[in-house]
Protein backbone atom coordinates (compact mmCIF):
# COMPACT_ATOMS: atom_id res chain seq x y z
CA UNK A 1 0.00 0.00 0.00
CA UNK A 2 1.40 3.40 -0.90
CA UNK A 3 1.91 5.99 1.81
CA UNK A 4 -0.76 8.18 0.24
CA UNK A 5 -3.40 5.50 0.62
CA UNK A 6 -2.15 4.53 4.06
CA UNK A 7 -2.37 8.15 5.17
CA UNK A 8 -5.85 8.51 3.73
CA UNK A 9 -6.99 5.36 5.45
CA UNK A 10 -5.66 6.43 8.84
CA UNK A 11 -7.01 9.95 8.46
CA UNK A 12 -10.43 8.55 7.74
CA UNK A 13 -10.44 6.80 11.09
CA UNK A 14 -9.21 9.76 13.11
CA UNK A 15 -12.81 10.64 13.79
CA UNK A 16 -14.52 7.27 13.65
CA UNK A 17 -17.95 8.46 14.64
CA UNK A 18 -18.15 11.13 11.96
CA UNK A 19 -16.69 8.77 9.39
CA UNK A 20 -19.20 6.06 10.21
CA UNK A 21 -22.04 8.55 9.99
CA UNK A 22 -20.85 9.83 6.63
CA UNK A 23 -20.28 6.34 5.26
CA UNK A 24 -23.67 5.25 6.56
CA UNK A 25 -25.36 8.14 4.80
CA UNK A 26 -23.69 7.17 1.54
CA UNK A 27 -24.46 3.49 2.08
CA UNK A 28 -28.06 4.18 2.93
CA UNK A 29 -28.57 6.38 -0.10
CA UNK A 30 -26.97 3.75 -2.33
CA UNK A 31 -29.10 1.02 -0.80
CA UNK A 32 -32.24 3.04 -1.32
CA UNK A 33 -31.32 3.80 -4.91
CA UNK A 34 -30.58 0.17 -5.74
CA UNK A 35 -33.81 -1.03 -4.20
CA UNK A 36 -36.06 1.70 -5.52
CA UNK A 37 -34.70 1.58 -9.04
CA UNK A 38 -35.02 -2.20 -9.06
CA UNK A 39 -38.54 -1.81 -7.75
CA UNK A 40 -39.43 0.71 -10.43
CA UNK A 41 -37.91 -1.35 -13.21
CA UNK A 42 -39.61 -4.45 -11.85
CA UNK A 43 -42.99 -2.78 -11.66
CA UNK A 44 -42.64 -1.41 -15.18
CA UNK A 45 -41.90 -4.85 -16.43
CA UNK A 46 -44.90 -6.22 -14.55
CA UNK A 47 -47.05 -3.37 -15.85
CA UNK A 48 -45.95 -3.90 -19.41
CA UNK A 49 -46.28 -7.65 -19.22
CA UNK A 50 -49.72 -7.68 -17.68
CA UNK A 51 -50.95 -4.94 -19.94
CA UNK A 52 -49.53 -6.90 -22.82
CA UNK A 53 -51.19 -10.06 -21.57
CA UNK A 54 -54.58 -8.48 -21.18
CA UNK A 55 -54.86 -6.17 -24.14
CA UNK A 56 -52.33 -5.80 -26.73
CA UNK A 57 -49.56 -8.36 -26.88
CA UNK A 58 -46.01 -7.14 -27.34
CA UNK A 59 -46.55 -6.49 -30.99
CA UNK A 60 -49.35 -6.32 -33.49
CA UNK A 61 -49.53 -6.39 -37.22
CA UNK A 62 -52.33 -4.15 -38.41
CA UNK A 63 -53.41 -2.42 -41.52
CA UNK A 64 -51.88 1.04 -41.73
CA UNK A 65 -54.13 3.56 -40.01
CA UNK A 66 -56.17 0.98 -38.12
CA UNK A 67 -54.64 1.93 -34.75
CA UNK A 68 -56.08 5.44 -35.04
CA UNK A 69 -59.31 4.92 -36.97
CA UNK A 70 -60.34 1.41 -35.87
CA UNK A 71 -62.29 1.17 -39.11
CA UNK A 72 -63.59 -2.30 -39.84
CA UNK A 73 -62.46 -1.92 -43.45
CA UNK A 74 -58.78 -1.61 -42.58
CA UNK A 75 -57.91 -5.29 -42.44
CA UNK A 76 -55.01 -7.70 -42.53
CA UNK A 77 -56.33 -9.69 -45.48
CA UNK A 78 -54.32 -12.89 -45.22
CA UNK A 79 -53.18 -13.38 -41.62
CA UNK A 80 -51.88 -16.90 -42.22
CA UNK A 81 -48.94 -15.63 -44.28
CA UNK A 82 -47.96 -13.48 -41.30
CA UNK A 83 -48.40 -16.55 -39.12
CA UNK A 84 -45.88 -18.37 -41.30
CA UNK A 85 -43.29 -15.66 -40.72
CA UNK A 86 -43.96 -15.76 -36.98
CA UNK A 87 -43.62 -19.54 -36.88
CA UNK A 88 -40.03 -19.13 -37.94
CA UNK A 89 -39.02 -16.59 -35.31
CA UNK A 90 -37.46 -18.29 -32.29
CA UNK A 91 -38.20 -15.53 -29.81
CA UNK A 92 -41.93 -15.47 -30.53
CA UNK A 93 -43.82 -17.13 -27.73
CA UNK A 94 -47.30 -17.17 -29.26
CA UNK A 95 -49.52 -15.27 -31.63
CA UNK A 96 -53.20 -15.04 -32.39
CA UNK A 97 -55.60 -13.23 -34.71
CA UNK A 98 -58.38 -10.90 -33.71
CA UNK A 99 -61.15 -9.13 -35.56
CA UNK A 100 -62.94 -6.21 -33.97
CA UNK A 101 -66.17 -4.35 -34.55
CA UNK A 102 -68.15 -1.73 -32.68
CA UNK A 103 -71.73 -2.82 -32.28
CA UNK A 104 -74.88 -2.40 -30.31
CA UNK A 105 -75.54 -5.15 -27.82
CA UNK A 106 -79.03 -5.65 -26.46
CA UNK A 107 -80.57 -7.79 -23.81
CA UNK A 108 -84.32 -7.94 -23.32
CA UNK A 109 -84.14 -4.87 -21.15
CA UNK A 110 -81.29 -2.70 -22.30
CA UNK A 111 -78.94 -1.76 -25.10
CA UNK A 112 -75.34 -0.69 -24.93
CA UNK A 113 -72.56 0.06 -27.39
CA UNK A 114 -69.72 -2.41 -27.14
CA UNK A 115 -66.59 -3.70 -28.76
CA UNK A 116 -67.07 -7.13 -30.22
CA UNK A 117 -63.86 -9.05 -30.58
CA UNK A 118 -63.49 -12.22 -32.59
CA UNK A 119 -60.88 -14.52 -31.12
CA UNK A 120 -59.39 -17.91 -31.88
CA UNK A 121 -60.13 -19.63 -28.54
CA UNK A 122 -57.09 -21.91 -28.65
CA UNK A 123 -54.50 -19.38 -29.79
CA UNK A 124 -55.96 -16.57 -27.66
CA UNK A 125 -55.43 -18.63 -24.51
CA UNK A 126 -51.69 -18.71 -25.23
CA UNK A 127 -51.41 -14.98 -25.86
CA UNK A 128 -53.68 -13.33 -23.32
CA UNK A 129 -54.99 -13.99 -19.85
CA UNK A 130 -58.61 -13.93 -20.97
CA UNK A 131 -59.11 -17.60 -20.15
CA UNK A 132 -57.93 -17.10 -16.60
CA UNK A 133 -60.22 -14.11 -16.09
CA UNK A 134 -63.41 -16.13 -16.34
CA UNK A 135 -65.57 -15.54 -13.28
CA UNK A 136 -68.71 -17.37 -14.31
CA UNK A 137 -69.55 -19.98 -16.89
CA UNK A 138 -66.69 -21.18 -19.05
CA UNK A 139 -64.25 -20.13 -21.72
CA UNK A 140 -64.96 -20.69 -25.42
CA UNK A 141 -64.25 -24.13 -26.84
CA UNK A 142 -62.48 -24.76 -30.12
CA UNK A 143 -65.60 -25.31 -32.20
CA UNK A 144 -68.07 -22.97 -30.50
CA UNK A 145 -70.12 -20.79 -32.82
CA UNK A 146 -72.88 -18.50 -31.57
CA UNK A 147 -71.60 -18.21 -28.05
CA UNK A 148 -69.86 -15.24 -26.45
CA UNK A 149 -67.88 -14.17 -23.42
CA UNK A 150 -68.91 -10.91 -21.87
CA UNK A 151 -67.31 -8.44 -19.44
CA UNK A 152 -68.74 -8.50 -15.93
CA UNK A 153 -69.76 -4.83 -15.85
CA UNK A 154 -71.43 -5.06 -19.25
CA UNK A 155 -73.32 -8.14 -18.08
CA UNK A 156 -74.40 -6.19 -15.03
CA UNK A 157 -75.55 -3.26 -17.12
CA UNK A 158 -77.46 -5.48 -19.50
CA UNK A 159 -78.87 -7.34 -16.51
CA UNK A 160 -77.97 -10.70 -17.96
CA UNK A 161 -76.29 -13.85 -16.76
CA UNK A 162 -74.77 -16.88 -18.46
CA UNK A 163 -77.02 -18.82 -20.82
CA UNK A 164 -79.03 -15.64 -21.53
CA UNK A 165 -79.34 -14.50 -25.11
CA UNK A 166 -78.21 -11.15 -26.45
CA UNK A 167 -78.62 -9.48 -29.79
CA UNK A 168 -75.69 -7.93 -31.57
CA UNK A 169 -76.25 -5.36 -34.24
CA UNK A 170 -73.52 -3.71 -36.25
CA UNK A 171 -72.09 -2.96 -39.63
CA UNK A 172 -70.20 -5.54 -41.66
CA UNK A 173 -66.93 -5.01 -43.51
CA UNK A 174 -68.77 -4.33 -46.79
CA UNK A 175 -71.22 -1.89 -45.19
CA UNK A 176 -74.04 -4.34 -44.91
CA UNK A 177 -75.86 -4.90 -41.68
CA UNK A 178 -74.39 -7.47 -39.36
CA UNK A 179 -76.81 -8.93 -36.90
CA UNK A 180 -76.92 -12.04 -34.80
CA UNK A 181 -78.28 -13.51 -31.64
CA UNK A 182 -75.79 -15.23 -29.35
CA UNK A 183 -75.76 -16.98 -26.03
CA UNK A 184 -73.59 -15.90 -23.13
CA UNK A 185 -71.20 -18.73 -22.30
CA UNK A 186 -69.04 -16.99 -19.75
CA UNK A 187 -68.46 -13.76 -17.86
CA UNK A 188 -64.97 -12.41 -17.25
CA UNK A 189 -63.60 -9.76 -15.00
CA UNK A 190 -60.14 -8.29 -15.58
CA UNK A 191 -60.26 -5.55 -12.98
CA UNK A 192 -59.81 -3.03 -15.77
CA UNK A 193 -63.08 -1.17 -15.93
CA UNK A 194 -62.80 -0.25 -19.58
CA UNK A 195 -62.44 -3.82 -20.62
CA UNK A 196 -65.11 -5.19 -18.31
CA UNK A 197 -67.64 -2.50 -19.21
CA UNK A 198 -67.63 -2.69 -22.94
CA UNK A 199 -66.23 -5.81 -24.51
CA UNK A 200 -67.57 -9.05 -25.84
CA UNK A 201 -65.54 -11.94 -27.21
CA UNK A 202 -66.84 -14.37 -29.79
CA UNK A 203 -65.22 -17.11 -31.88
CA UNK A 204 -63.27 -15.64 -34.79
CA UNK A 205 -64.84 -17.90 -37.43
CA UNK A 206 -68.33 -16.89 -36.33
CA UNK A 207 -67.30 -13.21 -36.25
CA UNK A 208 -65.95 -13.48 -39.78
CA UNK A 209 -69.27 -14.92 -40.95
CA UNK A 210 -71.41 -12.34 -39.18
CA UNK A 211 -69.37 -9.32 -40.20
CA UNK A 212 -68.51 -10.52 -43.71
CA UNK A 213 -64.80 -10.55 -43.06
CA UNK A 214 -63.97 -13.62 -45.17
CA UNK A 215 -60.53 -14.64 -43.95
CA UNK A 216 -59.43 -11.17 -42.95
CA UNK A 217 -58.67 -10.01 -39.40
CA UNK A 218 -57.76 -6.67 -37.82
CA UNK A 219 -54.93 -7.59 -35.54
CA UNK A 220 -52.22 -10.21 -35.53
CA UNK A 221 -51.25 -10.20 -31.86
CA UNK A 222 -47.78 -11.43 -30.93
CA UNK A 223 -46.09 -12.07 -27.59
CA UNK A 224 -42.36 -12.49 -27.41
CA UNK A 225 -40.48 -14.70 -25.00
CA UNK A 226 -39.30 -11.57 -23.20
CA UNK A 227 -39.62 -7.82 -23.41
CA UNK A 228 -36.10 -7.62 -24.77
CA UNK A 229 -37.02 -9.78 -27.77
CA UNK A 230 -39.59 -7.27 -29.00
CA UNK A 231 -37.30 -5.10 -31.11
CA UNK A 232 -35.80 -8.11 -32.80
CA UNK A 233 -39.18 -9.62 -33.67
CA UNK A 234 -40.36 -6.28 -34.96
CA UNK A 235 -37.43 -6.00 -37.34
CA UNK A 236 -37.82 -9.55 -38.67
CA UNK A 237 -41.56 -9.06 -39.13
CA UNK A 238 -41.04 -5.84 -41.03
CA UNK A 239 -38.59 -7.37 -43.47
CA UNK A 240 -40.74 -10.52 -43.74
CA UNK A 241 -43.82 -8.52 -44.68
CA UNK A 242 -41.86 -6.46 -47.20
CA UNK A 243 -40.65 -9.67 -48.80
CA UNK A 244 -44.17 -11.01 -49.35
CA UNK A 245 -45.45 -7.85 -50.92
CA UNK A 246 -43.78 -4.49 -50.46
CA UNK A 247 -46.98 -2.68 -51.34
CA UNK A 248 -49.05 -4.33 -48.63
CA UNK A 249 -50.26 -1.50 -46.35
CA UNK A 250 -49.38 -3.33 -43.15
CA UNK A 251 -47.58 -1.95 -40.14
CA UNK A 252 -45.91 -3.59 -37.16
CA UNK A 253 -46.60 -1.79 -33.88
CA UNK A 254 -44.91 -2.55 -30.59
CA UNK A 255 -46.40 -2.18 -27.12
CA UNK A 256 -45.23 1.41 -26.82
CA UNK A 257 -47.16 2.38 -29.92
CA UNK A 258 -50.14 0.25 -28.96
CA UNK A 259 -50.52 1.71 -25.46
CA UNK A 260 -48.96 5.18 -25.46
CA UNK A 261 -50.63 5.81 -22.09
CA UNK A 262 -48.60 3.03 -20.53
CA UNK A 263 -45.35 4.54 -21.70
CA UNK A 264 -46.47 7.92 -20.41
CA UNK A 265 -47.25 6.61 -16.96
CA UNK A 266 -43.90 4.86 -16.88
CA UNK A 267 -42.15 8.06 -17.88
CA UNK A 268 -44.09 10.04 -15.31
CA UNK A 269 -43.22 7.57 -12.59
CA UNK A 270 -39.59 7.60 -13.64
CA UNK A 271 -39.44 11.39 -13.58
CA UNK A 272 -41.00 11.65 -10.13
CA UNK A 273 -38.53 8.99 -9.01
CA UNK A 274 -35.64 10.96 -10.43
CA UNK A 275 -36.71 14.09 -8.60
CA UNK A 276 -36.72 12.18 -5.34
CA UNK A 277 -33.32 10.64 -6.11
CA UNK A 278 -31.93 14.04 -6.93
CA UNK A 279 -32.76 15.32 -3.46
CA UNK A 280 -31.48 12.16 -1.86
CA UNK A 281 -28.14 12.51 -3.63
CA UNK A 282 -28.02 16.21 -2.82
CA UNK A 283 -28.31 15.43 0.89
CA UNK A 284 -25.49 12.93 0.64
CA UNK A 285 -23.36 15.41 -1.28
CA UNK A 286 -23.84 18.00 1.46
CA UNK A 287 -22.89 15.51 4.12
CA UNK A 288 -19.63 14.79 2.29
CA UNK A 289 -19.02 18.49 1.73
CA UNK A 290 -19.61 19.17 5.41
CA UNK A 291 -17.30 16.36 6.48
CA UNK A 292 -14.47 17.65 4.36
CA UNK A 293 -14.94 21.27 5.30
CA UNK A 294 -14.65 20.11 8.90
CA UNK A 295 -11.55 18.13 8.00
CA UNK A 296 -9.91 21.23 6.58
CA UNK A 297 -10.91 23.27 9.55
CA UNK A 298 -9.44 20.75 11.99
CA UNK A 299 -6.30 19.95 10.08
CA UNK A 300 -5.28 23.42 8.89
CA UNK A 301 -2.12 23.33 10.97
CA UNK A 302 -1.19 19.95 9.52
CA UNK A 303 -1.75 21.12 5.95
CA UNK A 304 0.48 24.08 6.80
CA UNK A 305 3.28 21.72 7.85
CA UNK A 306 2.81 19.72 4.66
CA UNK A 307 3.07 22.89 2.62
CA UNK A 308 6.14 24.00 4.55
CA UNK A 309 7.98 20.77 3.87
CA UNK A 310 7.28 21.31 0.19
CA UNK A 311 4.21 19.33 -0.81
CA UNK A 312 2.84 20.56 -4.13
CA UNK A 313 -0.75 21.81 -4.20
CA UNK A 314 -1.67 19.03 -6.61
CA UNK A 315 -0.46 16.34 -4.29
CA UNK A 316 -2.31 17.85 -1.35
CA UNK A 317 -5.52 17.83 -3.37
CA UNK A 318 -4.83 14.24 -4.34
CA UNK A 319 -4.39 13.22 -0.70
CA UNK A 320 -7.75 14.65 0.25
CA UNK A 321 -9.47 13.16 -2.78
CA UNK A 322 -8.09 9.71 -1.94
CA UNK A 323 -9.68 10.13 1.48
CA UNK A 324 -13.05 11.07 0.07
CA UNK A 325 -12.98 8.39 -2.61
CA UNK A 326 -12.07 5.73 -0.09
CA UNK A 327 -14.95 6.75 2.16
CA UNK A 328 -17.41 6.97 -0.70
CA UNK A 329 -16.30 3.63 -2.10
CA UNK A 330 -16.80 1.88 1.23
CA UNK A 331 -20.25 3.41 1.58
CA UNK A 332 -21.27 2.65 -1.95
CA UNK A 333 -19.99 -0.92 -1.81
CA UNK A 334 -21.87 -1.53 1.44
CA UNK A 335 -24.98 0.07 -0.05
CA UNK A 336 -24.85 -1.96 -3.24
CA UNK A 337 -24.37 -5.21 -1.35
CA UNK A 338 -27.12 -4.54 1.20
CA UNK A 339 -29.44 -3.08 -1.44
CA UNK A 340 -28.90 -6.07 -3.73
CA UNK A 341 -29.58 -8.55 -0.94
CA UNK A 342 -32.79 -6.80 0.05
CA UNK A 343 -33.85 -6.52 -3.57
CA UNK A 344 -33.10 -10.18 -4.21
CA UNK A 345 -35.19 -11.13 -1.21
CA UNK A 346 -38.20 -9.24 -2.50
CA UNK A 347 -37.49 -10.40 -6.02
CA UNK A 348 -38.20 -13.88 -4.65
CA UNK A 349 -41.08 -12.99 -2.36
CA UNK A 350 -42.74 -10.05 -4.03
CA UNK A 351 -44.15 -6.96 -2.39
CA UNK A 352 -47.83 -6.75 -1.63
CA UNK A 353 -49.25 -3.62 -3.22
CA UNK A 354 -52.93 -4.53 -3.15
CA UNK A 355 -54.93 -1.36 -3.09
CA UNK A 356 -51.83 0.78 -3.44
CA UNK A 357 -52.03 2.53 -6.73
CA UNK A 358 -54.74 3.23 -9.25
CA UNK A 359 -52.33 3.48 -12.13
CA UNK A 360 -51.10 -0.03 -11.50
CA UNK A 361 -54.62 -1.41 -11.32
CA UNK A 362 -55.41 0.27 -14.63
CA UNK A 363 -52.71 -1.78 -16.23
CA UNK A 364 -53.92 -4.96 -14.69
CA UNK A 365 -51.59 -5.24 -11.74
CA UNK A 366 -52.96 -6.11 -8.40
CA UNK A 367 -51.43 -8.18 -5.68
CA UNK A 368 -47.66 -8.43 -5.86
CA UNK A 369 -44.84 -6.59 -7.51
CA UNK A 370 -41.48 -8.20 -7.97
CA UNK A 371 -38.49 -5.85 -8.00
CA UNK A 372 -35.92 -6.77 -10.58
CA UNK A 373 -32.24 -6.43 -9.81
CA UNK A 374 -30.14 -5.76 -12.87
CA UNK A 375 -26.65 -4.43 -13.50
CA UNK A 376 -28.27 -1.14 -14.38
CA UNK A 377 -30.44 -0.85 -11.29
CA UNK A 378 -27.56 -1.97 -9.05
CA UNK A 379 -24.97 0.45 -10.36
CA UNK A 380 -26.55 3.51 -11.89
CA UNK A 381 -27.73 5.09 -8.63
CA UNK A 382 -24.56 4.42 -6.63
CA UNK A 383 -22.53 5.45 -9.69
CA UNK A 384 -24.18 8.86 -9.65
CA UNK A 385 -23.65 9.08 -5.88
CA UNK A 386 -19.97 8.42 -6.56
CA UNK A 387 -19.67 11.19 -9.12
CA UNK A 388 -21.62 13.72 -7.07
CA UNK A 389 -19.74 13.05 -3.84
CA UNK A 390 -16.48 13.28 -5.77
CA UNK A 391 -17.52 16.72 -7.00
CA UNK A 392 -18.60 17.70 -3.48
CA UNK A 393 -15.19 16.75 -2.09
CA UNK A 394 -13.46 18.51 -4.95
CA UNK A 395 -14.38 21.92 -3.58
CA UNK A 396 -12.60 21.58 -0.21
CA UNK A 397 -9.79 19.64 -1.89
CA UNK A 398 -9.16 22.54 -4.25
CA UNK A 399 -9.67 25.11 -1.53
CA UNK A 400 -6.66 23.89 0.46
CA UNK A 401 -4.41 24.50 -2.54
CA UNK A 402 -4.62 28.21 -1.89
CA UNK A 403 -3.97 27.85 1.82
CA UNK A 404 -0.91 29.95 2.64
CA UNK A 405 1.57 28.09 4.83
CA UNK A 406 2.26 30.92 7.31
CA UNK A 407 -1.42 31.50 7.92
CA UNK A 408 -1.98 27.79 8.36
CA UNK A 409 0.92 27.59 10.80
CA UNK A 410 -0.20 30.50 12.98
CA UNK A 411 -3.69 29.05 12.99
CA UNK A 412 -4.30 27.05 16.15
Amino acid sequence: MSIDVKMAWRNIWRNPRRTILTISAIAFASLLLVFMLSFQFGSYETMINSSVKIHTGHLQVQSAGYQDKKSIRLVVPDPDTIGKILNQIQSVEAYTFRAIAFSLVSSKKRTYGSIVIGIDPVREAKVSTLKSLMRKGSYLAKDDTDQVLIGSLLAQNLKIDIRDEITILGQGRDGSIAATVVKVKGIYSSGIDDLDRNSIHMPLKYFQDVYGMYDAVHEVVVTGKSLKAVDGIKAVLNTGIKKINPKLPLVVLDWKELTPGLLQSIELDLVSGIIFYFFLILVVAFSILNTFLMVIFERTREFGVLKAIGITPGRLTKLLLIESITMTTIGIAAGIIAGSLITLYFQGHGIDISGASDILVQYGISGRIYPRLSLLSAFIGPGIVFIITFLAALYPALKIRSLRPVEAMTYV
Binding site: I3, M7, N11, E302, L306, G310, T312, M409
Partner: protein
Protein backbone atom coordinates in the same frame (compact mmCIF):
# COMPACT_ATOMS: atom_id res chain seq x y z
CA UNK B 1 30.50 30.96 0.49
CA UNK B 2 27.11 32.30 1.51
CA UNK B 3 24.03 30.14 1.23
CA UNK B 4 21.44 32.67 2.41
CA UNK B 5 21.36 36.26 1.21
CA UNK B 6 18.85 38.80 2.56
CA UNK B 7 18.96 42.35 1.26
CA UNK B 8 17.07 45.19 2.94
CA UNK B 9 14.02 43.20 3.94
CA UNK B 10 10.96 45.04 5.17
CA UNK B 11 7.81 43.47 6.46
CA UNK B 12 4.82 45.25 7.90
CA UNK B 13 1.78 43.54 9.41
CA UNK B 14 -1.61 45.04 9.79
CA UNK B 15 -3.08 44.44 13.25
CA UNK B 16 -6.51 45.94 12.94
CA UNK B 17 -5.80 49.62 12.33
CA UNK B 18 -2.25 49.55 13.67
CA UNK B 19 0.66 48.86 11.39
CA UNK B 20 3.36 46.73 12.96
CA UNK B 21 6.76 46.90 11.30
CA UNK B 22 8.06 43.41 12.04
CA UNK B 23 11.26 43.79 9.99
CA UNK B 24 12.95 47.08 9.21
CA UNK B 25 15.53 46.75 6.49
CA UNK B 26 17.25 43.54 7.50
CA UNK B 27 20.34 42.65 5.51
CA UNK B 28 22.00 39.36 6.27
CA UNK B 29 24.29 36.81 4.74
CA UNK B 30 24.86 33.33 6.12
CA UNK B 31 27.68 31.02 5.11
CA UNK B 32 27.40 27.38 4.19
CA UNK B 33 27.93 25.07 7.13
CA UNK B 34 26.98 27.69 9.69
CA UNK B 35 25.34 27.07 13.05
CA UNK B 36 23.60 30.35 13.58
CA UNK B 37 21.36 31.55 16.38
CA UNK B 38 18.85 34.31 15.88
CA UNK B 39 18.18 35.77 19.30
CA UNK B 40 15.96 38.53 20.60
CA UNK B 41 13.02 39.28 22.82
CA UNK B 42 9.49 38.22 22.08
CA UNK B 43 7.97 40.14 19.17
CA UNK B 44 11.35 41.21 17.79
CA UNK B 45 10.76 39.56 14.40
CA UNK B 46 12.64 36.24 14.61
CA UNK B 47 9.79 34.08 13.32
CA UNK B 48 9.01 36.58 10.61
CA UNK B 49 12.60 36.54 9.38
CA UNK B 50 12.83 32.73 9.43
CA UNK B 51 9.55 32.40 7.56
CA UNK B 52 10.77 34.82 4.92
CA UNK B 53 14.08 33.01 4.53
CA UNK B 54 12.13 29.75 4.23
CA UNK B 55 9.80 31.24 1.57
CA UNK B 56 6.75 30.60 3.73
CA UNK B 57 6.11 34.32 3.79
CA UNK B 58 6.94 37.12 1.37
CA UNK B 59 8.64 40.40 2.35
CA UNK B 60 7.06 43.72 1.36
CA UNK B 61 10.38 44.80 -0.10
CA UNK B 62 13.91 43.49 -0.32
CA UNK B 63 15.24 40.31 -1.83
CA UNK B 64 15.98 36.85 -0.49
CA UNK B 65 17.93 34.07 -2.07
CA UNK B 66 18.74 30.56 -0.91
CA UNK B 67 21.54 28.65 -2.59
CA UNK B 68 21.49 31.07 -5.50
CA UNK B 69 17.70 30.98 -6.02
CA UNK B 70 16.16 34.43 -5.71
CA UNK B 71 12.53 34.13 -4.56
CA UNK B 72 11.10 37.25 -6.09
CA UNK B 73 10.14 35.87 -9.47
CA UNK B 74 9.30 32.32 -8.39
CA UNK B 75 5.77 30.92 -8.42
CA UNK B 76 4.16 29.19 -5.45
CA UNK B 77 4.81 25.73 -6.85
CA UNK B 78 8.43 26.60 -7.66
CA UNK B 79 8.80 27.77 -4.07
CA UNK B 80 7.22 24.51 -2.88
CA UNK B 81 9.83 22.58 -4.83
CA UNK B 82 12.60 24.78 -3.47
CA UNK B 83 11.43 24.09 0.07
CA UNK B 84 11.19 20.40 -0.69
CA UNK B 85 14.76 20.13 -1.91
CA UNK B 86 16.70 22.95 -0.22
CA UNK B 87 15.01 23.90 3.04
CA UNK B 88 14.25 21.86 6.14
CA UNK B 89 11.91 23.16 8.83
CA UNK B 90 11.70 22.48 12.54
CA UNK B 91 8.89 24.33 14.26
CA UNK B 92 8.30 24.90 17.91
CA UNK B 93 5.64 22.19 18.06
CA UNK B 94 3.16 20.21 15.97
CA UNK B 95 5.79 19.42 13.38
CA UNK B 96 4.76 15.92 12.48
CA UNK B 97 1.96 14.33 10.52
CA UNK B 98 -0.07 12.67 13.28
CA UNK B 99 -1.19 9.65 11.27
CA UNK B 100 2.33 8.70 10.21
CA UNK B 101 4.84 6.85 12.37
CA UNK B 102 8.28 8.34 13.07
CA UNK B 103 9.91 6.51 10.21
CA UNK B 104 7.01 7.31 7.85
CA UNK B 105 7.18 10.99 8.74
CA UNK B 106 10.84 11.02 7.72
CA UNK B 107 10.11 8.95 4.63
CA UNK B 108 7.34 11.25 3.52
CA UNK B 109 9.73 14.02 2.48
CA UNK B 110 11.69 11.56 0.37
CA UNK B 111 8.44 10.26 -1.08
CA UNK B 112 7.62 13.79 -2.22
CA UNK B 113 11.11 13.99 -3.71
CA UNK B 114 10.55 10.77 -5.59
CA UNK B 115 13.15 8.62 -3.84
CA UNK B 116 12.75 4.85 -4.37
CA UNK B 117 10.81 3.01 -1.65
CA UNK B 118 13.59 0.68 -0.50
CA UNK B 119 16.10 3.50 -0.34
CA UNK B 120 13.60 5.69 1.53
CA UNK B 121 13.14 3.23 4.33
CA UNK B 122 16.85 2.62 4.68
CA UNK B 123 17.76 6.29 4.80
CA UNK B 124 14.92 7.13 7.19
CA UNK B 125 16.05 4.47 9.62
CA UNK B 126 19.67 5.54 9.37
CA UNK B 127 18.85 9.15 10.12
CA UNK B 128 16.57 8.18 13.04
CA UNK B 129 19.50 6.16 14.38
CA UNK B 130 21.67 9.28 14.07
CA UNK B 131 19.24 11.34 16.16
CA UNK B 132 19.02 8.56 18.74
CA UNK B 133 15.60 7.12 17.96
CA UNK B 134 16.57 3.60 16.90
CA UNK B 135 13.89 2.16 19.19
CA UNK B 136 11.11 4.49 18.07
CA UNK B 137 10.69 3.86 14.31
CA UNK B 138 7.09 2.77 14.42
CA UNK B 139 5.66 5.08 17.03
CA UNK B 140 3.13 7.71 16.06
CA UNK B 141 3.81 11.32 17.17
CA UNK B 142 1.22 11.00 19.92
CA UNK B 143 3.23 8.13 21.36
CA UNK B 144 6.49 10.12 21.43
CA UNK B 145 7.70 12.61 24.04
CA UNK B 146 8.11 16.27 23.06
CA UNK B 147 11.88 15.87 22.77
CA UNK B 148 11.52 12.75 20.67
CA UNK B 149 9.06 14.53 18.40
CA UNK B 150 11.55 17.37 17.89
CA UNK B 151 14.25 14.84 17.06
CA UNK B 152 12.02 13.28 14.44
CA UNK B 153 11.40 16.77 13.08
CA UNK B 154 15.16 17.39 12.85
CA UNK B 155 15.63 14.00 11.22
CA UNK B 156 12.94 14.86 8.68
CA UNK B 157 14.49 18.28 8.06
CA UNK B 158 17.98 16.96 7.33
CA UNK B 159 17.22 13.63 5.65
CA UNK B 160 17.19 15.11 2.18
CA UNK B 161 20.48 17.02 2.61
CA UNK B 162 18.94 20.50 2.36
CA UNK B 163 21.01 23.66 1.96
CA UNK B 164 19.60 25.06 5.21
CA UNK B 165 17.54 23.92 8.17
CA UNK B 166 15.41 26.61 9.77
CA UNK B 167 14.39 25.92 13.35
CA UNK B 168 12.02 28.34 15.06
CA UNK B 169 12.51 27.99 18.80
CA UNK B 170 12.97 24.23 18.54
CA UNK B 171 13.58 23.89 22.27
CA UNK B 172 10.91 26.27 23.57
CA UNK B 173 8.53 23.50 24.52
CA UNK B 174 11.21 21.26 26.04
CA UNK B 175 12.73 21.17 29.50
CA UNK B 176 16.32 22.41 29.54
CA UNK B 177 17.91 18.97 29.71
CA UNK B 178 15.96 17.66 26.74
CA UNK B 179 16.52 20.98 24.95
CA UNK B 180 20.27 20.71 25.41
CA UNK B 181 20.17 17.12 24.15
CA UNK B 182 18.40 18.29 21.02
CA UNK B 183 20.93 21.08 20.45
CA UNK B 184 23.84 18.67 20.97
CA UNK B 185 22.30 16.45 18.36
CA UNK B 186 21.76 19.36 15.95
CA UNK B 187 25.34 20.43 16.44
CA UNK B 188 26.53 16.90 15.75
CA UNK B 189 24.53 16.83 12.49
CA UNK B 190 25.97 20.23 11.61
CA UNK B 191 29.50 18.99 12.11
CA UNK B 192 29.14 15.52 10.63
CA UNK B 193 26.82 16.24 7.72
CA UNK B 194 27.77 19.87 7.15
CA UNK B 195 24.11 20.96 7.31
CA UNK B 196 23.59 24.70 7.80
CA UNK B 197 21.32 25.43 10.77
CA UNK B 198 19.61 28.71 11.53
CA UNK B 199 17.60 28.66 14.72
CA UNK B 200 15.83 31.25 16.77
CA UNK B 201 15.68 31.46 20.53
CA UNK B 202 15.43 33.82 23.41
CA UNK B 203 17.12 31.40 25.77
CA UNK B 204 20.73 32.22 26.79
CA UNK B 205 21.63 28.56 27.20
CA UNK B 206 20.65 27.90 23.63
CA UNK B 207 22.59 30.92 22.34
CA UNK B 208 25.74 29.39 23.84
CA UNK B 209 25.63 26.57 21.33
CA UNK B 210 25.76 28.87 18.33
CA UNK B 211 28.98 29.65 16.46
CA UNK B 212 27.41 32.86 15.22
CA UNK B 213 24.90 34.87 17.21
CA UNK B 214 22.67 37.44 15.55
CA UNK B 215 20.76 39.71 17.89
CA UNK B 216 17.55 41.21 16.66
CA UNK B 217 15.40 43.83 18.34
CA UNK B 218 12.31 45.62 17.05
CA UNK B 219 12.87 44.30 13.56
CA UNK B 220 16.50 45.40 13.30
CA UNK B 221 19.75 43.47 13.62
CA UNK B 222 21.53 45.07 16.55
CA UNK B 223 24.46 42.73 17.01
CA UNK B 224 26.17 40.02 14.95
CA UNK B 225 29.07 38.15 16.52
CA UNK B 226 31.05 35.14 15.45
CA UNK B 227 32.40 33.13 18.35
Amino acid sequence: MSIVECKDINKTYQQGKIEVRALKGVTLSIDKGGFVALAGPSGSGKTTLLNIIGSLDQPDSGSVSVDGNTFEKMTQSQLALLRLHKVGFVFQSYNLIPVLSAVENVEFVMLLQGVQAAQRRERAKAILDDVGLEAEYDRRPAELSGGQQQRVAVARAIVSNPSIVLADEPTANLDSKTGNGLLEMMKKMNEEKKVTFIFSTHDNMVMDYARRLILIRDGCIVDDQIK
